[in-house]
């Protein structure tokens, strides 16, 4: 083994926390737009498309864990180094860093867009983004245990805001779901391709794996986390289909936030504003985990301290936010993140899979 990662035991965490981490990184800003995006292709059968994609993602997650198990105690950089050598490993990891940053920046830009549109139309995105990045920097300074802790606590906060969807759920029109299975094969495929963006995040395992104390439980808890996220997405898709008219759902950019517009309590009239502010609890673990992924991979390649590289991220994301002021530019960035995620999240593990099998066969021969 060329490059084992030795993590001190006090930094390791139990595999059961993976459930919260995987769930949190999967549920982010994507869920807000997902129902209308998938509906454009799959209409009332969107839920079917989601289930099909989820099955594929479960398999890919299994492949990732299989590869990680084969190489034991190392992360993506270590695996690539062992298989392809130093030079190629660095190249791929750099590509991964660019990809992580694209996802990080698009999520941050999108959340600031919510705030600007729903609450403070005159406020600069730059300022909102700055306050959020301070929190992110704080967590990175705290290290991996803080990041895991944030995921754990925020998981429970997430539930509350989704529980409010009971109100729109009580107003659904059953007719909207029928007729079943009207969608054509081509539309299913297109819808599935689009749905992948909702499932980016499982790549966090590439770098998190060495930190797990009881590695034999990795498979169970990460699959459970993925399953929980799928269920939540499914609930959102089903409620959105029933709640909106088909053309209406297609025209909405953020249908999930739109559903909060119908909720009103006598002490709190506009729940949509509440939901947008509350979304920070959903988005923050996401951003923190991506920021950690970037700093962690930089540390692996160049031994740069994470406390230093986080400032580079903060400055770069501030510059990025300054340039992404219009929603058209934001959409362009999201499209880049979308397309690259298909390679980095879904194709990459499949490409690496044969090498892991070869290694296992060789290992048994020896």
């Amino acid at each position: 083994m060329k490059n084992p990662v030795n993590i001190p035991t006090h930094l390791k965490f139990r595999a059961s926390y993976l459930f919260f981490i995987i769930f949190n990184i999967l549920i982010g800003v994507g869920i807000v737009a997902y129902p209308s995006r998938v509906f454009q292709y799959a209409k009332q059968d969107s839920w079917l498309v989601l289930i099909l994609v989820a099955i594929i993602v479960h398999l890919i997650l299994a492949i990732i864990i299989f590869i990680l198990r084969t190489y034991q105690d190392t992360d993506l950089y270590g695996i690539l180094q062992e298989t392809f050598g130093n030079w190629f490993a660095k190249l791929i990891c750099y590509l991964f860093i660019i990809y992580f940053f694209t996802v990080y920046l698009s999520a941050l830009a999108k959340y600031t867009e919510f705030i600007v549109v729903f609450i403070f139309p005159q406020l600069s995105k730059f300022i909102i983004g700055f306050f959020i990045t301070i929190l992110i920097a704080y967590s990175i300074y705290g290290g991996i245990r803080v990041i895991v802790g944030v995921s754990f606590i925020f998981f429970f906060l997430t539930f509350f805001v989704f529980a409010l969807l009971v109100v729109p759920a009580s107003m659904i029109d059953i007719n909207n779901y029928f007729p079943l299975f009207e969608v054509s094969r081509k539309e299913v495929f297109e819808g599935m391709l689009l749905s992948t963006y909702s499932f980016i995040g499982i790549e966090v395992l590439w770098y998190l794996y060495p930190y797990i104390r009881n590695k034999e439980k990795t498979m169970l808890y990460s699959q459970l986390g993925l399953f929980a996220a799928t269920i939540l997405l499914l609930i959102n898709v089903i409620i959105s289909i029933g709640f909106f008219a088909p053309k209406q759902l297609e025209s909405l950019i953020w249908p999930v936030l739109g559903m909060y517009k119908i909720i009103s309590f006598s002490i709190f009239e506009r729940l949509d504003i509440f939901a947008v502010s509350y979304w920070i609890f959903i988005i923050l673990p996401n951003l923190i985990l991506y920021a950690w992924l970037i700093t962690r991979s930089l540390k692996r390649i160049h031994q740069i301290k994470q406390k230093h590289s986080i400032w580079a991220i903060i400055i770069l994301s501030a510059i990025g936010l300054y340039f992404i002021q219009s929603s058209i530019k934001l959409e362009a960035l999201l499209d880049v993140a979308d397309i690259s995620s298909i390679f980095f999240v879904f194709l990459f593990p499949i490409l690496l899979f044969p090498f892991a099998i070869i290694k296992r066969i060789r290992g048994t021969k020896k």
């Binding site: 549109v117 729903f118 403070f120 139309p121 005159q122 406020l123 306050f131 029109d173 059953i174 007719n175 909207n176 779901y177 029928f178 007729p179 009207e182 909106f244 008219a245 088909p246 053309k247 209406q248 025209s251 739109g258 517009k261 119908i262 009103s264 009239e269 506009r270 949509d272």
Partner: protein, 382 residues
């Protein structure tokens, strides 16, 4: 450790307090619009807007003083109203929008789209149509304890919808029904009587164009088909002829050919199922139960025979009224009850109705109406 906690709370309190500085809005400086009315302008393509705002003053005066302004679109009219008040107009508390009949007959979708696009406007805003120009309705001087006529209209609609008299008519419902193929929107119709705003019935729309009004009696049947009742009320006329034998002190007179029966605590459930028989065929099954509250003729309600007869006659009468209502919608070619969506939910592919087909075929839709009624109780007397 203590320092750390102190630092943490310092940062937290700064962040929390800073949010107040982001975009400050002093309540007293705001003109919070509660209801807006739009009419067609007197000359040209102008839209005439009427805005009712909250007043925060030491001496509460109960005088209604709407702000008027006109512009090329509803948004323009709102925008131009800034020069007519010393306060900053905001739409976050908008509760109802009233469209005048002239404007509503031309179609209100362009105006609704503006509302929908404005994220500060709640989706729960009531969309209504008025019988006379909306500026007259909003000029009402009697609004009970409400702070202004806008809030009064909101409370009125809340009360009427809460009492299960008419169907819900929020912005969300309207847009949903407008954008769906196979259903037309409905809104309450407002009018003015003795200087107070009243609800007179339901406005039927074809797409976004206001076509005709049905009164509150007919509105009951719209709800009966569309929604379920949990505690409704209904008055119905039955012929006296059949009940002559059960009436104790009956004196035949020509004016008393019919008698009235009032039902309360009505629970109902409806089921609409399309049938494919070469034509567009629908069966409407309605189960209906309630308590007798009032009879204009004295009947022997202890006899089972009478109850059965009442149940049967009432079912027949309800069926009649429903088919009358459906005929009316077919004449006007407005599918306010959304039979088109029921059809499209069942059939796929070629059999599905497109928007044009649905418009063309709706007057030829056929309905089988089957009502079963049950009288549960007859009040606290026998």
């Amino acid at each position: 450790m203590k320092m750390k906690i102190k630092k943490f709370f310092l940062i937290l309190s700064i962040v929390v307090l800073l949010t107040g500085c982001a975009e400050e809005r002093v309540l007293e400086d705001l003109g919070i619009i509660t209801t807006a009315g739009f009419d067609k302008g007197e000359d040209g393509p102008e839209v005439f807007g009427t805005f009712i705002t909250y007043k925060f003053s030491q001496q509460l005066s109960n005088v209604n003083s709407p702000i008027h302004s006109s512009g090329r679109t509803a948004q323009d009219a709102f925008h131009l109203a800034f020069a007519k008040t010393a306060k900053k107009l905001v739409t976050g508390q908008l509760r109802a929008v009233v469209y005048g009949p002239d404007l509503a007959k031309e179609g209100i979708w362009p105006h609704l789209d503006t509302l929908q696009r404005n994220q500060f406007v709640s989706d729960l805003v009531y969309i209504t149509v008025s019988e006379m120009p909306s500026r007259e309705v909003l000029n009402a001087q009697v609004f009970e304890e409400a702070p202004n006529v806008g809030i009064y209209i909101y409370r009125l609609l809340d009360q009427v919808i809460g009492k299960e008299e008419i169907v819900d008519s929020s912005l969300h419902e309207f847009i949903k029904n407008y954008l769906k193929v196979g259903v037309d929107p409905i809104t309450p119709v407002l009018s003015i009587e003795e200087d107070r705003v009243i609800v007179t019935g339901l406005g039927l729309f074809q797409d976004d164009r206001f076509i005709d009004t049905i009164d509150l009696h007919e509105a009951f049947y719209v709800r009966l088909i569309l929604d379920e009742f949990k505690a409704g009320e209904l008055q119905i006329e039955l012929p006296t002829e059949n009940y002559r034998q059960f009436m104790e002190d009956f004196e035949p007179s020509p004016e008393e050919e019919t008698f009235e029966i009032t039902m309360q605590q009505i629970k109902s459930a409806s089921q609409i199922s399309p049938k494919d028989s070469g034509k567009y065929h629908f069966s409407i099954k309605i189960r209906f139960e309630g308590d007798i509250r009032e009879l204009t003729k004295e009947l022997d309600l202890e006899s089972k025979e009478v109850i059965h007869m009442l149940e049967k006659d009432m079912a027949k009468k309800i069926e009649e009224n429903i088919s009358k209502l459906l005929e009316k919608t077919q004449e006007l070619n407005v599918d306010s009850l959304g039979f088109g969506t029921f059809w499209n939910a069942k059939f796929k592919g070629d059999k599905k109705l497109t928007e044009e087909e649905w418009r063309k075929e709706y007057p030829n839709f056929q309905f089988d109406i089957d009502v079963t009624t049950e009288i549960l109780r007859n009040g606290i007397t026998q």
